[in-house]
Symmetry: C2
Subunit: 340 residues, 2 copies
DNA sequence: AGCTGGCACTCGCACGGACAGAGTGCCAGG
DNA sequence: CCTGGCACTCTGTCCGTGCGAGTGCCAGCT
C-alpha cells in the first residue's frame, strides 16, 4: 500500500529528527524538513495511526511525538541502512589500531577508538578463554609452598593464578611439573582441559601427583569457569553528555557497568553469523538499562569467534552510524588478532 | 587567645555541618547543633572574621556560609582527628580481602572495598614496576618472527609484550634466549635492568645478539618507562550521587579518570613516610578536578613502598572518615602483598 | 478515496510579581 | 566582650497569565 509505505517514511523521519535534536517532533517540522510530499495534516493522520500501533508516543498532549522502543526496533530492522564510514573514520581506525604491542594494548586502543567514534560507552570483551587453546603454561615458585601458574593462550591472553601447595617444593619438582603440564595441555582447548586431567595424573610420577592435582584443579577452576571473562570499558564520560537521556540518574547504569557481569552477558551473546545485534531499551530486560540500548557484534577470524564488543548508549542514538562503527571496528580487531 | 580558639571551633562546626547536610550553614543552626556556649550573634562575628580570612564564603548574600578550599585545608590540618574505624568496618576489610587469589584479584577487591567504605571513587595503583624486581622472564614464540615476552615481578605483576624479530626463530634459539635473559636479569631491580644490557650482550653468543638486543630493548622500553604503571579504578557510580557537588557536570572528571595519567600522578606522589596525603580542590592544579579532593597514601611493606592508592571525591567529603579508611585499607593491602 | 486547509482546543512552559523565610550586619545595652 | 533586637537583603517558591506548539476533526477539493 502507498499509505503503509508513507507511514513508515514518517516514522523514519521522526526517528531521525528526534535523534538529532532531542526534541519531540511535530507534524509541521516534519513536513518542512523532509520531502514527504504531503501536508502536515496528512502527516498528522499518519502519526495518529503510528501512535495507535505503538511506534510513537507523545510525552504530553500537545507536544510532538517521540519514538517508542518498538518504534526504534522497526526503524533498525526495516528503515535504516548501515551507514558506510567516511574515509576519515576508516583512516582513524587504522591509525588507532596500528602499532599496538600486545593484546592488552589492542583492546585498550579498541575501546578508546569505539568510544570516540560513537560517542557512547564502549565495551570490549577479552577473547573468551573457553574458545582459546593453551599455547604455554609457566610455573614459577614464589614462596616455599606457593606457585604462580601463568597461562598463555593462542589468542594472546596471559592469565595468572596463585596455587597454594601442601608440601614444600624444590626446583626440580617445579621444572618437572612445568614440562608435564605443557605436554599434557599444549594446544588443548581450554574447554577440553578438564577432561585431560585424569590422563595427566596417570602419567605423572607418584610423588608429584598431589601437586599436579592441585595445580590442574586450580587451572580448571579459575580459567575454564565462565565469569573469568574480562571486559574493557571506556568512554563512560560520554554518558554525562546527554544527561536528559537518563531520567532518574545515570547512577544505576554506572553501577551496572562496574558490575561487569550484566554487560558481559549482553556483549557475549553475539550472533555467530557476524551480524550486528541491537537491543533496545526494555529488550535488555534489566532495570538499570532502562532507556539504554546495546549494539554489539562478535569479533574474531572467519573460522573462529573470539569474543564480543559493542557500545551502550541511550535508546536515542544514531543506530545506523553506531552499527557501522561497531562492525568496522570488530573487523579490524579480528584482522589484527588473527595476524598475531 | 580564647577568640582564636573559638573561631576555629566555629570553622570546624561549619565544615562538619556542611559536609553532612550540603546546605550552607547559618549562625542560628550552628548555635543550636553545637554547644559553642555563645549566641548566634557572637558566632556571626566570628564568621565575619573567618570570611575575611578566606576560610569560608557565602554563595550569595543572606545564605549561610560554606567552607573554602582554604577552610577545608585548615580543617584537615588542625581541626580533625582521624576517625578510628568501627569494628564492623575492620571486619569488612578482612572479609573482603581474604581469599584473594592473585595480585589482580587483590587489587580488584581493594578498589571495590575502598569505594564501598568511602562512597567515593577509589583508585589503586599496581605496584610500581620501577620498584619491583624480576622474578622470572618467560619467552614464548607466537609466530615465526614473533615472540611474547612475559615478565613476572616479585610483587606479583605479570606483564607481557610482543617483540617482532627480524630473523626467523627456532626452538633452540628461544630456549637459549630464555635462559640468557633469566640469568642476566633474575633478581634485578627493573631500574637497573637497562644497565645490565651491555654485559648481557657481551656474554651472548654472536648469532643471538641481534635477538637479545631487540628483546632487551623492548623490555627496557615498555617495562621500565614510567607511564606503564597501571591503575584500577572503581566506584565511579558514586560520583552520580552528589550531582550537586560538581557544578558544570561530572564529565571532565570522568574524562580525567579515564585519562589515567592525571590520576596516576596524583596517586603515585605519595609521602614515603606513610602519611595520608590530602589534596583539596585547587591544590590539584588540574582543571577537571575543580571541586574535587584526593586522599591518597602509599602502600607496601615497611622497608619498601609498592605503590599508591586513594580516593577521589568532592571537596565536600568526610575527611576524617575517608582518611581513616584509606589508611586502613593501605595497611591491609601492604600486609597481604608482603605475604605473597 | 484520499489529501488539504482551516479552526477550535488543550496543554506545557516561560515570564513576572508577590511573599515568606533565612541569614546577615550593626548597634545599643548588659 | 557578649547578647538581643532590628532593619535589610536576597533567594526560592508559588501562582496567575499569556503565548506558542501541536493536535484532532471537519468540510471541501481533486
Amino acid at each position: 500500500m502507498a499509505h503503509e509505505d508513507r507511514r513508515l517514511q514518517v516514522l523514519r523521519a521522526i526517528v531521525q529528527d528526534f535523534v538529532s535534536t532531542n526534541d519531540p517532533v511535530g507534524s509541521k517540522a516534519l513536513a518542512e524538513r523532509h520531502d514527504l510530499g504531503v501536508s502536515p495534516a496528512t502527516i498528522r493522520n499518519d502519526m495518529a495511526v503510528l501512535e495507535e500501533q505503538g511506534y510513537i508516543t507523545q510525552p504530553h498532549t500537545s507536544a510532538g511525538r517521540v519514538p517508542t522502543d518498538k518504534g526504534y526496533r522497526l526503524f533498525v530492522d526495516r528503515l535504516s541502512a548501515v551507514k558506510p564510514l567516511s574515509a576519515a573514520e576508516r583512516r582513524a581506525i587504522e591509525r588507532f589500531l596500528d602499532g599496538a604491542l600486545d593484546l592488552h594494548d589492542v583492546l585498550g586502543r579498541t575501546v578508546r577508538l569505539l568510544a570516540q567514534l560513537t560517542h557512547q560507552v564502549a565495551v570490549v570483551q577479552y577473547p573468551t578463554l573457553s574458545r582459546s587453546a593453551v599455547r604455554h603454561l609457566e610455573v614459577v615458585q614464589v614462596a616455599t609452598t606457593r606457585l604462580l601458574v601463568v597461562l598463555i593462550t593462542d589468542t594472546g591472553r596471559v592469565e595468572q593464578r596463585v596455587v597454594e601447595c601442601s608440601a614444600e617444593l624444590d626446583r626440580d619438582d617445579v621444572a618437572e611439573l612445568r614440562s608435564l603440564l605443557n605436554t599434557a595441555f599444549a594446544g588443548a582447548r581450554l574447554t577440553d582441559a578438564a577432561g585431560k586431567v585424569p590422563d595427566l595424573l596417570d602419567t605423572a610420577p607418584p610423588h608429584l601427583r598431589p601437586l599436579v592435582a592441585a595445580v590442574s584443579a586450580a587451572l580448571v577452576e579459575t580459567l575454564v569457569e565462565p565469569g573469568e571473562d574480562r571486559l574493557v570499558i571506556g568512554g563512560t564520560a560520554n554518558l554525562a553528555r546527554g544527561l536528559t537521556d537518563f531520567p532518574g540518574s545515570l547512577r544505576p547504569l554506572l553501577e551496572a557497568l562496574e558490575e561487569q557481569v550484566v554487560v558481559l552477558r549482553l556483549i557475549s551473546e553475539v550472533d555467530t553469523g557476524g551480524a550486528v545485534l541491537v537491543r533496545i531499551g526494555e529488550e535488555n530486560a534489566h532495570e538499570a538499562l532502562t532507556g539504554a540500548s546495546v549494539v554489539s557484534v562478535g569479533y574474531g577470524t572467519e573460522d573462529r569467534a573470539l569474543g564480543g564488543l559493542g557500545i551502550v548508549g541511550p535508546t536515542r542514538m544514531d543506530y545506523p552510524g553506531n552499527m557501522a562503527a561497531v562492525r568496522a571496528v570488530a573487523r579490524y580487531v579480528g584482522q589484527i588478532l588473527a595476524g598475531s
